[in-house]
């Protein structure tokens, strides 16, 4: 009896092991070049980008691809390895245009004043989401078990997945004016 219970338990546990899936062919919809644009939550008409971004943020492969594309598409030219340079730092808690995945998506697709170019029509939709996931990993926004690939250069900062989560101001509880502590 105990053997049967043990075997059943092992079978149950083993069947619960889920290997991370790598999606190579993202399907027709998300291989369209990204053109979707959302300025903010309050807008008239048009669709907010509504990709199932958890499928990117929970996949180490997707985040690793984002890391590769971050150098390949020369994001490092301005943002360095997240520490910033000509462009703003991406590994701190300060977000000029918001820290949510849809907002970062819009930054990449639309471009932003003072230097951030628009990549609309240039990068396939799913690759933008991979970049978004990697950018968010830079400030520890992703789960710690989602590790992008190892750096090719000598890393100065902690590995992305080992970083403390920065709390962007728009996610901090807002102070109510006049309230006494």
């Amino acid at each position: 009896m105990r053997k049967i219970v043990l075997t059943a338990a092992i079978v149950l546990f083993v069947s619960a092991c889920k290997r991370e899936q790598r999606v190579f062919d993202p399907g027709a919809a998300s291989s369209q070049t990204a053109n979707g644009v959302a300025l903010n939550d309050v807008h008239a008409g048009g669709a907010v980008p509504t990709a199932n971004y958890s499928m990117f943020e929970e996949s180490a492969y997707a985040v690793g691809e984002g890391k590769r594309l971050f150098s390949a598409f020369n994001c490092t030219g301005c943002h360095a390895q997240g520490g910033g340079g000509m462009g703003p730092a991406l590994m701190d808690a300060e977000w000029i245009y918001g820290s949510r995945p849809e907002q970062i998506y819009s930054d990449i697709v639309q471009g932003r004043p003072n230097g951030m170019p628009s990549f609309a029509g240039k990068i396939p939709d799913y690759q933008v989401w991979e970049l978004v996931a990697y950018v968010r990993s830079l400030s520890g926004q992703l789960p710690a078990d989602v590790a992008p690939s190892r750096s090719d250069n000598l890393p100065v900062a902690k590995a992305e997945q080992a970083r403390q989560k920065e709390n962007p101001p728009d996610e901090r509880p807002q102070k109510v004016q006049g309230a006494k502590p």
């Binding site: 062919d25 993202p26 291989s31 598409f73 029509g121 240039k122 396939p124 690759q127």
Partner: protein, 329 residues
């Protein structure tokens, strides 16, 4: 000789069909060890069979202690001594052969060798022919043209993980390790197309990371090199001009270079003379207009995991883009 009769052993990707001095040395050493060990193996098996057939005693019949006689003892001492002597001689033959081969491979050091830079990428080969005048530097991919009978220095490294450069008909393997530059000397004497492959597991598409060493006469090679150094041709008609616009305004431009246009990214293969190559996808498919169209629309279906993303193009746009790429001779 017997091996050469087996199909596949005399092909254009076989170390048993050497077409250069490096591979010839290696092939000689391989044959030496192969035939010596084969002969010894057959001889040992033969003696074993004979001794089984001619057995004199069974185990129960052995008297204890064994009776000895002087003549038998001398015969056995002689046999064992002879076997040890032959073994030592054969091992030394193989050792000396091995030293000779290593020495011959290591002492190739021609001053006037033609340098070709080879960079391993997941999963294709970047090939450069450096020139002191930078604008004459030739950049291509997956197809290495070499002049016959001229020493070549393959200088290379890897852009990502460890790869290994191996054209079995030409020379032994050379690992390409990220952050470490390496050199290998080789020479191809026989004109033809010799196929090589990555010989160090490097990820999903390791098996589809091959290259061709296209060996031609010095004049043909020089002609090819001069043509490759030119910029791409400007589109001659409206269809190809539109194709070029498609290339420059879509995802292509983020990874590929076409010299003579504003496309200058070094992430993917240089496409300046794409139509002059015989294969696409690192030897995956013949370079035909149909294969190229399929590759552009969904390379992931042909080579899953490769770095080329699927592209959504309307039929007309794709036809114009293909027409433009076909002009890049």
């Amino acid at each position: 000789m017997m091996l050469l009769a087996i199909p596949g052993f005399d092909g254009n990707q076989s170390s048993l069909n050497p077409v250069g001095p490096g591979a010839a040395h290696i092939e000689f050493e391989f044959s030496l060890i192969f035939w010596i060990t084969t002969a010894v193996y057959c001889l040992v098996l033969l003696l074993l069979v004979i001794s089984v057939i001619r057995k004199k005693n069974t185990l129960d019949e052995f008297p204890d202690p064994l009776p000895t006689n002087e003549a038998d003892e001398r015969r056995m001492r002689f046999s064992v001594g002879l076997a040890v002597g032959v073994t030592v001689v054969l091992l030394f033959t193989m050792l000396v052969g091995s030293f000779e081969t290593s020495h011959a491979l290591g002492s190739m050091n021609p001053e006037n060798a033609l340098t070709i830079d080879v960079y391993g990428h997941q999963w294709w080969w970047e090939v450069q022919y450096p020139n002191n005048e930078a604008y004459k530097t030739v950049v291509t991919a997956n197809e290495i043209h070499v002049p016959a009978g001229v020493p070549i220095r393959i200088h290379g490294t890897s852009r990502d993980v460890i790869h290994s450069f191996w054209a079995p008909n030409v020379q032994g393997k050379r690992d390409l390790i990220p952050g470490y530059e390496t050199e290998a000397l080789m020479q191809v004497d026989q004109p033809g197309t010799w196929r090589g492959q990555c010989a160090e597991y490097c990820g999903e598409q390791h098996a589809h990371m091959s290259f061709l060493m296209i060996t031609e006469s010095k004049e043909q090679f020089q002609h090819w090199l001069e043509k490759q150094a030119l910029s791409s041709v400007a589109p001659a008609d409206a269809k190809t001009a539109h194709g070029q616009q498609i290339f420059l305004t879509h995802a292509c431009v983020l990874c590929h270079t076409i010299r003579g246009t504003s496309a200058g990214s070094r992430v993917g293969p240089d496409l300046t003379h794409l139509a002059s190559r015989t294969t696409i996808g690192a030897g995956l498919l013949p370079n035909t207009i149909g294969n190229l169209g399929g590759w552009i629309l969904n390379a992931q279906a042909l080579k899953p995991g490769c770095r080329m993303p699927p592209n959504q193009l309307s039929g007309a746009d794709l036809q114009d883009l293909l027409a433009y790429l076909e002009t890049l001779k």
